[in-house]
Amino acid sequence: MKLRPTAALGILALCATLAAPSVPVSAAGDTILFGSPVSLTGNLTKEGHLTQEGYELWKTYVNSHGGIKVGGKTYKVDIKYYDDESKNDTSAQLAERLIDQDHVNFLLGPYGSGTSFTVAQIAERKKMPMVEGNGAAEKIFNQGFRYTFGVLSPARRYLEGVLEMARAQKPAAQTVAITAASDAFSQEVAQGAAAWANAHGMKVVYNNKYPDTATDVSSIISALKQTNPDLILNAGHLQDALLVQKGLREQNVMARAYGYSVGPDTPDFANSLGKDANDVFGGAQWSDAVKYKGDPGFYHTAPEYAKAIMDTYHHRADYHNAESTAACLAFQYAIQRAGSLDPEKVRDALAKLDITTFYGIIKFDSRGLNLYKPMVVNQIQNGRLVTVWPTLTADGKPKYPAPPWGQR
């Protein structure tokens, strides 16, 4: 029997939805069990692992400092993970499994806006509080959900800092080209950047998107090159950021500055590209240069946190680590304040939360979104990540305009 292509494609799709390997963790009576479907494989693997590190670092800290006090009793914490393979639907199914079969007390978010959105729907249906630190699309918070809270600055603000910085330099950037992946997060980043540019007298000369599964973006780069922009922005994730940066280099596209929503902040960006990664800007939720002094109960400052990440995971702390840990911290303080593990009471405590952490202020608006923490801008200078904007938190000056390719 010959297999027909159409039938084969069907089976292919079926196989792809099957199989979700689990990472088992046990739960006990004196333990608060958190659950998280997270991208341990799939196209967001790297970010998923950084998320998991952020969660695990918090868990280790809390457990080695006695645990969380809830109304006179002290609890250890544990986190159960499932691999959602970076797929939105899988993530939602696994969230349901965590709630129904593993009886987790609370949900920590998955990595990414797509997955956070589908998991938020489950959290809402099951009345299960979720704090997420890795889904910045505002779409998640515009549904009237009561049980989902996000510690991130929203997606639309990711590239505002880069725009603001480029506009303040001499010669100021006046024209902007934007490329964006087609997922919800990247689209909101792109829309936010375009809106900011237009509102501040900059001209958007190119604005286009590509599928988030793209393996080649050279034709978009060719079209962008023709518009000869001062500032080139990309709204996407690590994989496509690398693809775009390689494409710009290959086609010799010169601009005064290059800014990415995700990418430069991850060491993989500079490791993969070598010198071609230099002088690139990235919007970041956090950097180890931010100057907050956190409330008692966890590492107080960004440098202390960065040291803990370095000691444990042997790499520089990434903002994905920090925002994931921040999600755990929101729970830690809210549970303490609620004095109970009752989901409803913890939800209310989350809604009223107003704390300062190493990561910044965590306080939610009525939609569950953290609007109270600004973004920072980092730049890769000679292979090192330097925070360059806003000037108050900066530990270096922006290098602008970028020198020609081959001299970076």
Binding site: C15, T41, T45, P211, S219, S222, A223
Partner: protein, 297 residues
């Protein structure tokens, strides 16, 4: 006008890689009637072989081409000989599930060995380019295309001229008749599966020059290989080449489509996957056996 020329070049350069990715997949499917879902994982292994040789021993990616081929060939040969032969006559779903499981296994081993970090192979000539009129051509991608053409050319010659190549083609035409003429089918199957894996390894090496590496990278290419292979025609070397080029060029041109329906702005680049699949659908309707495919019973 120059943008169209640039797109044509972009498309051909991207299509060359896709052709090599699809070639091994197509041979295994066409000759053994096995849809090898581990093909993407083999591509990934090829890419990581190159990465490892490049970072540890400074071996140029093009020099590592034969090494990727041989390593993956041996792996594929052994998998067929030791494992797949047990289920060679089993229903299609069995081989489907087997290769799917194999893919999960390989990807997860890679995650343990290399971790989920994204890596890149950046050579001295990465990013170097030249201009031809208004068209910019990156050297690395041009070399890749030339390598792709050389590989498909060699494969075609080998299948037509060599004794083993003829035995392979005979097996794909009629197993019974081939056996009667003294062809050892299990051996041929092992060679074909090894070839498929070896070609995947070569594709991985070529991909590592333009795309970043992570253990699950193969999935995206597996789906493209599937489309390219159906588009071009199963089991045919020319088919994989033509299919790859058509796919690459269609995707490149789709990027520049931009139109407005009512107030809704449609960007072709966001739809390049969809447009490529629509082309596939049209080809399947007009010519169900693919562009270069032969009509079979």
């Amino acid at each position: 006008m120059h943008l169209l020329a640039q797109d044509l070049v972009n498309g051909i350069l991207a299509g060359g890689i896709l052709a090599v990715v699809a070639l091994g997949f197509s041979l295994v499917w066409g000759i053994m009637n096995i849809i090898n879902l581990a093909h993407g994982a083999f591509v990934m292994l090829g890419a990581y072989t190159t990465y490892q040789l490049f970072t540890s021993f400074h071996v140029d990616p093009f020099v590592s081409l034969p090494i990727s081929f041989v390593l993956l060939f041996v792996l594929g040969y052994l998998i067929q000989r030791l494992l797949m032969n047990w289920i060679a006559r089993a229903p299609l779903l069995t081989t489907f599930l087997f290769t799917f499981g194999l893919s999960l296994l390989v990807v997860n081993i890679a995650l343990i060995v290399w971790s989920g970090d994204t890596r890149g192979v950046t050579t001295a000539y990465s990013g170097a380019n030249f201009t031809l009129g208004d068209v910019t051509v990156p050297w690395a991608k041009l070399y890749t295309l030339l390598a792709a053409l050389a590989i498909t050319g060699t494969m075609q010659l080998w299948l037509v001229r060599s004794k083993t190549g003829r035995a392979i083609r005979a097996t794909s035409m009629d197993i019974g008749a081939a056996q009667l003429s003294g062809v050892r089918v299990t051996e041929i199957y092992a060679i074909v599966f090894g070839l498929g894996a070896g070609l995947a390894g070569v594709a991985g090496t070529l991909i590592s020059l333009s795309y970043s590496l992570h253990p699950t990278m193969g999935d995206l290419f597996l789906i493209k290989a599937f489309v390219v292979c159906v588009l071009g025609g199963l089991g045919s070397v020319q088919g994989a080449l033509i299919g790859g080029l058509v796919y690459g060029i269609v995707e490149a041109f789709a990027t520049q489509l931009d139109f407005t329906i009512g107030t809704q702005h449609i960007s072709g680049s966001g739809l390049q996957d969809a447009i490529a699949l629509i082309v596939l659908l049209i080809v399947l309707i007009v010519r169900p056996r693919g562009i270069m495919g032969k009509a079979t019973a």
